[in-house]
Point group: none
Chain length 193, copies 4
DNA sequence: TATGAATGAGCGTTCATTCAT
DNA sequence: AATGAATGAACGCTCATTCAT
């Protein structure tokens, strides 16, 4: 049944997230994920072609959900300024509220080979495009500088946010990530104007 | 003789850099590095305790050299603005001029275990501290905003630069990295003022 | 199925016994044992945690069986004299009839590390205790000397038998081991009375 | 110079004894022995053809010295009884007084391959022959039984003594080895008469 | 669909021995 | 005689993937 299939598919993804968060990327064998999911090793290969596919799907399903959330939230923004603030806010708050996901995506899954990195890049791309659209909108609205290099700036913004999250995780999450939003957005907005 | 010992040590590091750049982190077996260096497998263990130590040394020797270059160059800067520009310039130009090093440090060595990640962090730390000093100097000179959150801002700057380099590599190096310096610095300076 | 699992477990033990007897302890790689057993290298690790565990199990299963045989046989003995004779008889005849086992336990497995030596000691201990019980019984029956040092004497007896077997193997098994029983027992009994 | 050569030869043997006693057979690499002896690794190969030869020489030089001591001591014995007592006495007292040698010969060097075992056998052979001579003398003197199987009995005696020493070592040397002489000799003499 | 026993390729590391100096 | 840097063969163990049931 389709519903049962989805159940088991989700079950395995959820198990993978938990196992990787607890054991790290290199300590997460298929057998461990299978055990956590309550299925046999072989069953996993009915839903995923290779081990890597679990990780790619994990990215797609979980981060893809975030992307949708971004779009949804940005739709209501009156200005590019507000949209950018909303994006930063969601980026940091969602990851602060989902530490396992943050840990796995920022730290563990980066210990992966080129193929997986590329797949991760594909998942992140729509997010970077969203930032791009906001920048374009800001320029059109004459809220942002007309001479802005949009392709470059979107990277500067994404890279900053990414580093802030990673640094927060590595430091042991001793401070609030959401508390960084305002000053981060201010830095961006000044750079954009 | 000390010189010969250094020769072989350097020989192995150079070989490792080349092999990792060509074959990726997971495709770089000790035997392959030894062959490239023209020494026996066992010889590598006269200079490095574990395989990982080659990678750590690679980071320390090569990137550590960059850090020294940063300090040297910044010393002559009249202002914080100029110092920041110098740092960005060196960061991007050195990696553009040393693609193997860029590829290995930005892409391959991040696929490593915790111990190596920690060692990498230790190498990067002085660099982030250098950025921090420049920010402090700028605030003292009243060139930068007094309300700047220095701990946060240094991350924003480092994360931006890091992402710019990685993105350039993944895109296939289709444009000039140094060409991004001016616009990147301008974005930073506006954010800082 | 349980029976199949036992089959493979036994298959590997049997193969190990044969391979060690033919190639010596240090010439018995996992791959050789696996090949002899007709299984893949990895399969061995489904039944044994480490290579050493094969050897320990070999000892426990094969010599442990002998110990049970000793107890069984001794039960019916009317006197301590007879019990001692039975023990010597079984000790020498069983090893003479199972040369591979004799060779592996007397010669090859003694070339092992501390952990294995300890495990071997644990298997041999019940046997030495059996000898001890016979000696105690003999003293109670006033068949053996009352001033016998039982802890010492059990070693003298075990050491003698052990040396007789080893010497027989090293000499190339040019004579009958069972033929030594009567004179050996007589030497012991005179010493005990 | 011959004397210097002997010096270094002895130096290496002494170092080997110490290193094996401290680190066990498998923890005693050539480099460790060389360091302990204060010579270069390569120097060892000027005095010994292979690593094994050090061990064989260790046996020959140290245990060979004991054999000479046995012959010397037995010469003065009035009777076979006394000679046997002397042999047992020396065997146990010398090893009790030289624990390193006892440990290395009884425990560590037995973890060796066939070639070394054979060499060890050759060193032990004169000792077993000495026991044989005493037995023959005893039979001639009509002190021992005329029907004694000398080839067998010498093994029984040697095996007993060997086991007593090994057991004493493994037990942690919690009692006096020399204190076992009288009861051991009594057991032998009763068996011989 | 689901199972889980079986597979077997793959690799870091050690260390006895050599040999140019 | 002495050195010690260099050699390179050798092997236990893991784990992603398969497939008979």
């Amino acid at each position: 049944m389709a519903s049962r299939k989805m159940d088991k598919y989700e079950l395995i993804l959820e198990a993978a997230l938990k196992v990787i968060a607890e054991n790290g990327f290199h300590g997460s064998q298929i057998s461990k994920i299978a055990k956590e999911a309550g299925v046999a090793d072989g069953t996993i290969y009915l839903y995923f072609k290779k081990k890597e596919d679990i990780l790619i799907s994990l990215f797609q399903e979980r981060l893809g959900g975030l992307i949708a959330l971004f779009h949804e939230s940005v739709k209501d923004s009156a200005s590019a300024d507000e949209a950018l603030r909303t994006v930063c806010n969601i980026h940091l708050s969602e990851l602060e509220n989902n530490v396992n996901l943050a840990y796995v995506t920022q730290i563990e899954l980066r210990q992966s080979n080129l193929e997986l990195r590329v797949a991760i890049g594909n998942v992140v791309k729509p997010y970077i495009q969203l930032i791009e659209h906001i920048l374009e909108k800001g320029v059109q609205e004459q809220s942002f500088r007309a001479d802005l290099d949009i392709k470059l700036t979107r990277l500067l913004i994404f890279g900053s946010l990414d580093e802030v999250v990673t640094s927060w995780l590595i430091s042991g999450r001793k401070y609030s990530l959401i508390g960084q939003v305002d000053k981060t957005v201010e830095f961006f907005l000044r750079g954009l104007k």
